[in-house]
Assembly symmetry: C2
Homo-oligomer: 406 residues x 2
């Protein structure tokens, strides 16, 4: 089918390709900042209260005591509010290199998405004066449709099923000759997202050279990187970027309604191709694709996948908003939630990092949510859980004495 | 009364004193970042829709067309999440200089506050191993009490009236010999807060030297600074810091229930000493004091005071959270709300800045709010207004095409 033809000759999935991608897209993206936070370092380096493990698979186990320093890569401050511009710019610029700008301007690009990838592709296309066709479900919220149109994209409506969506994409391709830029499962998208890994590695090294006290004593860079995993474009890109370095790469997913498809697939040895979850981490509801599976299921690239509950995500989000003063979407904090609340990860980190401890890069993938959406998410926390949460943060031995600290 | 005795010989209110304060407190505070945002620059530089002026004092007037570039000083990322640590550290360090550390450690410091100043003083005192007594109304929320205690402060409870409060402060002073560190109306507090003005001036100059495209073409620094005004410690501090420079200083207040006491006082020539407003900008509910009035009512120091509605504050807050991805408290955005929505300010800026335009520093004073508080604030927006707001942002000619841009 036309719409699934790879749009360009793919570059090999190597760090060198990620570096080439970075050179290509750098003028169009923000070099987003790294933030650190003493409160979150302290929380992550303090054992959970035994009561916090009640009702979980770790009930009765001794809580782990990892020692970590966290470095948050703030892609919520990226253009369009999410990392997706990296892959979109890279895919479009590579297409232009291969076909020539005139050809691409004549035929345009197309994708199906109602989320961050649609905005990202629309921005990349507008920047290069290329027509962008975005296929969106006709039930999309008016503000998302308006937002995509405000980027100058041509919106096509489809039904909500993937068949209906692909039929409209195919029709657009047939009418216009536009090239499909898929949201995650393409080498050029993966390589584009991986540029974040390069930046995180370098920026943390620069930061530690200037302020060594922000990290584990005696260490000049990262020991690990933790990234959320949905379709896996960003996680696999980071893994490719960091594969030849000693930095270990971990992925984090929501467990709700089987949203941890990558973890389960890797555990069983078979890719899971269908996921139906309504997790609040709505950017992570998609299964892995062919390309991303290949990277993520390879232990040389990704050293572990972990899952967290909806409550873990809410707790982490509350900390990031209220303590770090960073506005993030739920998908963005799944990595931090893993570091704070997943005892499998915490035990592994304690074991592997030892007395010394680890410097961990943590990807905040995006910040595209609304006050209304946050209100809805937190309105559903039952009173009792809300109380417990206050307790966990304020009085279980992981006390938070200071709101913001760098 | 003991509790209102000035605690040290005050330094003169000059830029040199602010510079000395900066040297003193620098090791204890964060040099908070300056953020810029293309979307907000574009919104602020686009005339409001005539419909947006309906029902205001500017109905029927032609909307102003100022040209501005905004530089946000992010004191929400300051220690304890607000600028208040600047004044608190300065006052305590000056007290130590004057009385000696042993004396101050023996007797301690005291204040009455349930807000950011309490946390700030507690942190400053804890850092220097000085006992801190904080008098809080016994109706304070448990989390605020716990937060202050977690800073190591000794909490004393009082009734809610200022008489009850002052009686407890006086009792603490009598029992312990502690020195009162007032929340805003003292030269050392004013000078401490003013350090923010020095940083903002310098940081914007550094930023423009590196990236001139972020500012008005051809300009190497700020033309103006806009700061929120409650008790006026921070506004007057900034005004003192910038008085010998060509940078103009403006203050912003909430108009709700007479919250614009500084503006009304200056207009009438007489300080307003009592304010009873329940504005959502809860950091700005206090009247000016003697010292802050003297600076703020002097046109050589503060060139204008402006007020905004509760809806203006909500609209600005929504933009800062959702578009800038910055977590701020309502008081923090009153300056931005003025720049976006107050036609008196906008007309003045258009007139004074001319064709060329202005680089304006905008103080985000703090970020100490909660998801719960935000939910409550926005739950009270009637459906119709919420719709109108969406319209103003998305489709009235001040379109927002991109979520985040630096």
């Amino acid at each position: 089918m036309a719409s699934t033809t790879p749009h360009t000759t793919p570059a090999p999935l190597t760090r060198a390709s990620v570096e080439a991608a970075h050179t290509l897209i750098k003028p169009y993206i923000h070099r987003t900042p790294i933030l650190t936070n003493t409160t979150l370092n302290n929380l992550a380096s303090t054992p959970q209260a035994p009561e916090a493990l009640k009702g979980t698979q770790w009930e009765g186990h001794e809580p782990a005591k990892p020692k970590v320093r966290l470095f948050f890569k703030c892609e919520n401050l990226q253009r369009i509010g999410a990392f997706k511009v990296r892959g979109a710019f890279h895919a479009v610029l590579r297409l232009v290199e291969e076909r020539g700008i005139d050809e691409v301007r004549k035929k345009g690009v197309v994708t199906h998405s109602s989320g961050n990838h649609a905005q990202a592709l629309a921005l990349a296309a507008r920047t290069l004066s290329i027509p962008a066709h975005i296929v969106m479900p006709n039930i999309s919220t008016p503000s998302k449709i308006a937002g995509t149109q405000a980027q100058g994209a041509i919106v096509h409506f489809s039904g909500s099923t993937s068949q209906e969506r692909e039929a409209i994409v195919a029709a657009v391709v047939e009418q216009t000759g536009a090239t499909l830029i898929p949201p995650y499962d393409h080498p050029n998208i993966i390589l584009g997202q991986g540029t974040m890994g390069l930046e995180t590695q370098t920026e943390v090294e620069e930061l530690l050279a200037e302020k060594p006290e922000l990290g584990i004593p005696g260490k000049s860079g990262l020991d690990a990187l933790m990234a959320p995993c949905g379709g896996g474009g960003m996680l696999s890109g980071n893994a490719v970027a960091l594969q030849p370095t000693p930095i270990r790469v971990f992925g984090a997913e929501p467990s709700f309604q089987g949203g941890d498809d990558a973890r389960r697939g890797v555990e069983s040895g078979t890719r899971i191709t269908t996921v139906k979850t309504l997790t609040i981490a709505d950017g992570l509801r998609t299964p892995l694709g062919d390309h991303t599976w290949k990277v993520i299921s390879d232990n040389e690239y990704v050293q572990g996948l972990y899952a967290v509950t909806e409550q873990n995500i809410k707790d982490a989000m509350k900390l990031v908003l209220e303590r770090m003063k960073c506005f993030v979407e739920p998908s963005a904090v799944v990595g931090l939630a893993t570091i704070l609340y997943n005892e499998d990860f915490r035990n592994m980190a304690e074991r592997e990092a030892g007395e010394e401890g680890w410097n961990i890069g943590v990807v905040f993938s995006g910040g595209n949510t609304t006050i209304e959406a946050i209100t809805n998410i937190f309105a559903h926390v039952p009173e009792e859980q809300a109380e417990r949460h206050e307790g966990v943060v304020a009085s279980d031995g992981r006390r938070v004495a200071e709101n913001v600290a760098g």
